[in-house]
């Protein structure tokens, strides 16, 4: 089936992107119980986070979730009100930014307008008092790495957004930081350029072997680039894991909803491997819950098969169909709950269809503060989805 092959590709990329040696490296950054308040409002609530060397870590979450604050605490621009921060095993809570072995690529680049491209990149080396020939060599090397050879004498204001982005990366990398912090660096670029830069950033990270901590609200960006994704909401970490884990085994309803599309239903875990929802008992592969524990059920739209009415585990009425290019997105009303399905075949609205769900497609989650907030597509429309997409910068 088309759907299946598409998904296999998707996951194949994840597997390929994962850094093979990330497991046995030691922690380069450790946050322990870090909290931060602004005007009495809790922005970060006891963050515990360990980041291994040479990893590409993404902090993912909607605006206001605390991801930028976390990054700024690591960079040294904010001091945590509670908790500890270690870089390379040393507490750096009170170390100023200029003495930390980390560098930042700022959201709006912050290239110095009074210096040309060369001098912007050379900035850190000049401070360190590096000899002239070394500066020229390193800057040339760095500009080659970010594909800006020949731009040395240009003023930074004459560059396009993508080029400024590259200068900002080169300027941060020339100091050979232990960790590079990137604060929504691709937010200002258009879609095509974004895709290119995603690939390039990943390549640069592999070439340099520097740990990247990347902040974004774009789940696709997070999944396709990272070794580890840290999903944040309401100043707390919701889940830490590889992109595959985050997608396949979401910890709670928030993560399931934020990453990809999901149908999230109330269910009851009758016993190991048996779960009840939508008024029917299903086989599943999850276990380890108390008997008859209330749970949240996640079923991804692409994991539901449309079958003949009589063969369906569930039956419903098609309420809308949207052509998406390589598949159809169908909203199906099953006893009042609207499911989202992705199929390769067209189903006319108002037809009754059967739905079939394999045991592996059912993911069972513990109840959380987010239960019941997400998962029904009854008020769904593409337009709404766009409007709620938090593209504005974080208000912090």
């Amino acid at each position: 089936m088309v759907i299946e092959s598409r998904n296999t590709c998707f996951f194949a990329i994840f597997l390929f992107e994962r850094s093979p040696f990330s497991k046995e490296m030691e922690n380069i950054i450790e946050l322990k119980g870090v909290s931060k308040f602004f005007d009495g409002e809790c922005i970060l609530d006891g963050i515990d986070l360990s980041i291994r060397d040479k990893e590409f870590v993404t902090l993912l979450g909607p605006s206001g979730c605390g991801k930028t604050t976390t990054l700024r605490i690591i960079g040294g621009f904010e001091t945590p009100d509670r908790g500890e921060l270690f870089i390379d095993g040393q507490s750096v809570k009170n170390t100023p930014p200029n003495q930390r072995p980390v560098n930042t690529v700022f959201q709006k680049y912050a290239l110095f307008p009074h210096l040309n491209v060369f001098e912007n990149v050379a900035f850190g080396l000049r401070l360190a008092g590096a000899p002239k020939d070394e500066i020229v060599r390193s800057v040339t090397e760095m500009l080659a790495l970010v594909k800006l050879k020949g731009f040395e004498r240009r003023t930074v204001t004459s560059l396009s957004g993508g080029q400024q982005q590259r200068v900002a990366i080169a300027r941060a990398l020339i100091n050979h930081p232990r960790v590079l912090l990137l604060d929504e660096p691709l937010g200002a670029l258009d879609l095509k350029l974004r895709k290119d830069m995603q690939n390039e950033l990943k390549k640069i990270q592999r070439q340099t072997g520097i740990t990247f901590i990347y902040v974004t609200h774009d789940q696709e960006e997070a999944l396709s680039m990272s070794d580890t994704v840290v999903v944040m909401a309401n100043g707390k970490i919701q889940q830490i894991g590889s992109p595959v884990d985050i997608y396949n085994e979401p910890e709670n309803a928030f993560v399931a909803d934020f990453i990809g599309e999901s149908n999230i239903l109330d269910g009851i875990m009758v016993s190991d491997g048996k779960v009840k929802f939508s008024g029917r008992l299903f086989d599943c592969v999850d276990s380890g819950f108390a008997p008859n524990e209330p749970v949240d059920i996640v079923v991804r739209p692409e994991d539901v098969d449309v079958v003949k009415l009589d063969d369906g585990m569930l039956t419903g009425t098609v309420s809308s169909v949207t052509f998406k290019g390589d598949y159809y997105e169908i909203i199906v009303d099953v006893g009042g709950f609207k499911w989202m399905l992705e199929t390769s075949d067209y189903e006319a609205p108002e037809t009754r269809i059967g739905l079939k769900i394999e045991p592996e497609a059912i993911h069972v989650m513990k109840k959380s503060e987010f239960s019941g907030q997400f998962g029904d597509y009854s008020s769904f429309s593409d337009e709404m989805d766009h409007m709620s997409d938090p593209t504005e910068e974080e208000a912090e």
Binding site: F106, A110, H114, L115, E119, R171
Partner: protein, 273 residues
């Protein structure tokens, strides 16, 4: 539509006529007077007589330069600190800075003179403490002090404005790349607020070099600057011509120095090694 554009083009006519009559023509008259003698005959005598005013020019330039440099040294940190204050404090400080600017120069100069004068409050205080009097009014120091006092706000305000416009991200980026506080100042903050410094320097230097009230009051008439000379020469119709030459020279001097300073800000791209 056509009528409208024609009207809009003609709208500038009164302005152009006024500019030619009352800005360009007066300048030409300065030139005309500079190149003629009292009877209206063409003459270079005024220009050759300039040599006797060399000392006045040197003194004025020196005073104005000293005052400008001291204003910059006092004013730059003040602007920097003011820019670091928060919301209402900053606004209040702005008002306090602007008040003297809006207040007539004569009043401020006069106030300073009465404070520092031999019979003034400062000297009577010193005297009663048994420290003896110090003479400030009537000395070079007094005149320079007057310039600093009168024009300091003109130095601070443009620098302060440039500081508040400075994106905090640049400072964070400088720290991030390894700058200490001092290095952030010299490598990022000062270069990026240079435009404010240039307009501040201009706004202090130009009135300092052309003042006559400050030297009259705080110099007690003993110190003769270019401004005093021009003012005196224009009291008497027979010396209008010499006065015109001196005005012209001062104008050229100022135009040159302003141009040089503007070059400063244009030339901000550092050269690659």
């Amino acid at each position: 539509m056509k009528g409208r554009t024609a009207f809009q083009k003609l709208a500038a006519v009164p302005h152009i006529v006024w500019t030619v009559m009352f800005i360009v023509a007066p300048m030409l008259f300065v030139l005309y007077f500079a190149l003629t003698d009292a009877d209206g005959r063409f003459s270079f005598a005024n220009i050759t007589s300039l040599s006797q005013y060399t000392n006045v020019f040197i003194l004025s330039i020196a005073f104005a330069l000293i005052a400008t440099v001291i204003c910059l040294l006092i004013g730059y940190p003040l602007a920097y600190y003011m820019a670091q204050q928060k919301g209402r404090t900053q606004k209040l400080l702005m008002v306090l800075l602007m008040l003297p600017m809006w207040c007539n120069l004569l009043i401020r100069t006069y106030a300073l003179m009465t404070l520092l004068d031999n019979g003034g409050l400062l000297n009577s205080l010193l005297d009663s403490l048994g420290l003896g009097k110090i003479t400030i009014v009537g000395t070079d120091f007094g005149v320079i002090l007057g310039m600093i006092y009168d024009f300091l706000p003109y130095m601070v305000l443009p620098i302060f404005t440039a500081m508040t416009k400075l994106d905090k991200q640049y400072i964070e980026a400088a720290h991030d790349l390894g700058c200490s506080h001092l290095q952030t100042m010299t490598r990022v903050v000062i270069p990026l607020t240079l435009s404010g410094v240039v307009s501040g320097v201009t706004m202090v230097f130009v009135p300092s070099i052309s003042t006559f009230y400050i030297s009259q009051k705080l110099g007690a008439g003993k110190i003769d600057l270019v401004g005093d000379t021009i003012e005196r020469l224009f009291q008497n119709p027979s010396t209008y011509n010499v006065g015109a030459v001196i005005s012209l020279v001062m104008m050229i001097l100022i135009i040159i120095s302003v141009q040089v300073m503007n070059r400063f800000t244009d030339d901000e791209k550092r050269v690659m090694p």
